[in-house]
Symmetry: C2
Amino acid sequence: MERSNLRDKAAIVGIGETEYSKGSGMNHTALLLQAAARAIEDAGLSPKDIDGVVPAINLITFEDLAVNLGTEDLKYAASPNMGGASSVATLLSAAMAVASGIATNVLCVAGWNGYSAMRFSGLGKAMDASASPMPMPSMLAKLRDFEMPYGVFVPAQWYAPMAIRHMHEYGTTSRQLGAVAVACRKHAQLNERAMMRGRPMTIDDHQNSRMIVTPFRLFDCSLESDGAAAAVVTSADRAADMRHRPVYIMGVAEGHPVPADQIAGRRDMFQIGLSFAAPRAFAVAGVTPKDIDVAEIYDCFTWSVICQLEAMGFCERGEGGPFVEGGRIELGGELPINTHGGLLSQAHIMGMNHVVEAVRQLRGDAGEAQVKDAEIALVTGWGDLADGSIAILRR
Amino acid sequence: MERSNLRDKAAIVGIGETEYSKGSGMNHTALLLQAAARAIEDAGLSPKDIDGVVPAINLITFEDLAVNLGTEDLKYAASPNMGGASSVATLLSAAMAVASGIATNVLCVAGWNGYSAMRFSGLGKAMDASASPMPMPSMLAKLRDFEMPYGVFVPAQWYAPMAIRHMHEYGTTSRQLGAVAVACRKHAQLNERAMMRGRPMTIDDHQNSRMIVTPFRLFDCSLESDGAAAAVVTSADRAADMRHRPVYIMGVAEGHPVPADQIAGRRDMFQIGLSFAAPRAFAVAGVTPKDIDVAEIYDCFTWSVICQLEAMGFCERGEGGPFVEGGRIELGGELPINTHGGLLSQAHIMGMNHVVEAVRQLRGDAGEAQVKDAEIALVTGWGDLADGSIAILRR
């Protein structure tokens, strides 16, 4: 396998977040700017130092982001536009830009008013763009033309057949899905920034929650949230002199399943984007799943975590269900995941909060949720019809 | 100035175009795919060899592009999304991706049904997205919220005040604008792929054409066209063994004016995106304007060419008008520009046809329009509110 030469060339040197809520009271641009400004300040930089911007998805133009931030000489801008895989994919573009010397300090940012303006549970209505307060990104043609007309509007509907197939093939159970939800909720209790702090959940709560799309119960689904998060990436050389201990990007990759535009057409439904991306990222990083101290795994749905653990090789195909049981993925377990609460119990802002949490863990700043001596962390993204992204980070 | 390390790391090894017309009879996806397939074939590759896709703007999802093309392991995807500056900016993303070893062969593609589906002269209507046959990209907020409500819908309206200011400050004349139109039209007569072949134009024709937005007459405005073009970028190492003589990317950059989101708010109206990008690209390439044998300059309007010539240093500020007179920019002149006819007389497909023509010139394949012994070519892009991009290419 041909390998990228990006290992340890770039580092995350600043992180920032807005409050996560069900009503930000801010418009989309203001949300992104608040997270961005906090990340830039955290890096000890000023907005004028930012010369690259990579918004995860194109719900905002680069110009609007740059101007309102106060950037004056923007040298690179692009958007990954892969739905929930976009946040981690921003790190790929940013690492390329700083390694190439095209830009010096690149801002990666994601967020939305996912509750108050662009709620998934109202997506059918939002597809009528004239009724939407935000522009809609381009849609996958097959989904738009051949599935949505039959009422297949929301991600719970897209991924449910994958989960059902997994349960059928490998005996994965709803209680195993619940173990992911319980772990995330447990971790959210330790995080003052988590929307579900103060609202603990048991496996029985999960089992008793109402069915949304079989097999996904309410507590298998991620939150609908307003909020944004951001990270600043610079070259490894410059990072060494900055305010915080740098978090180096050891390996980063994106991947797309085949065919990328339709789940039902795949020969292997569990060969997701991450199945392609993870081996590349691990090879570049020079580590294996055994080396990972903490993993922030994109958890749009509980089952997605199980599928990704298998795709990355943390366990064999079909063994993801048993793998997540018994506390293995909880703090104190063999592989603590989503130590901030994840999309399931902190907030769903397309996964940039996972990047922020990985950096906190590697800085040793994760408070009560700190994984002791965490040296290597992993972050993943999952978007559109199971496109994937992965970053392996080290302190 | 900090320099990028991308010099000569990547090369364009394949080019492709559709027919340019006022009615393609194909949908947007089919247009892009036809251009892409031709570029891939020209490179001597198969669609399976493509592992990066960079559509200029996100009127299509990466997934739709990849799946319909037959790509099976997509490792990189992003869109510059800078309007007419996007086509040349795709070369920046592609060069970064192959130089980083993230992808091997990257497809850059742009196009649209700019006449039959998304016609600028009907843009007011198209802004009502429910009436549009294509998704609209994100809009600049200030333009959308504070200018469009007053009827400022089309690019001719956005840039006209810049041209008027230039005429006021420097005495630039309508006949000088016309010299650009005449040069492009003259070159189109030599190009069987040009929409305006067979329809020659004199400076009097230009002067007698109707006013669209003062000072832009009909023949100051680029065409409205259906069509698409594409280029395949690979690493310089691999390029050496491929079907055609490689065209190396010596320097490539993008730039954004300040503020990027509003022309009227700029302290210096002629400090455009290219004013920032060009010095960086020339520095990396290690050449100066004197070394350029042929220049394909984004010509959404005649005056834009004059402004860009000044921004790149081909002449002093204010001297662009006299510079383009007397045949200097025509074939046989000191600096032949838009040897294919440009957006003004070949087709307006967001400028990817400029990239294709530059490659043809450097391969020595430009037929009757060939600039003898062309060794170094330059291509520019101009989009949104004068964002800019530039690539300096050599054979």
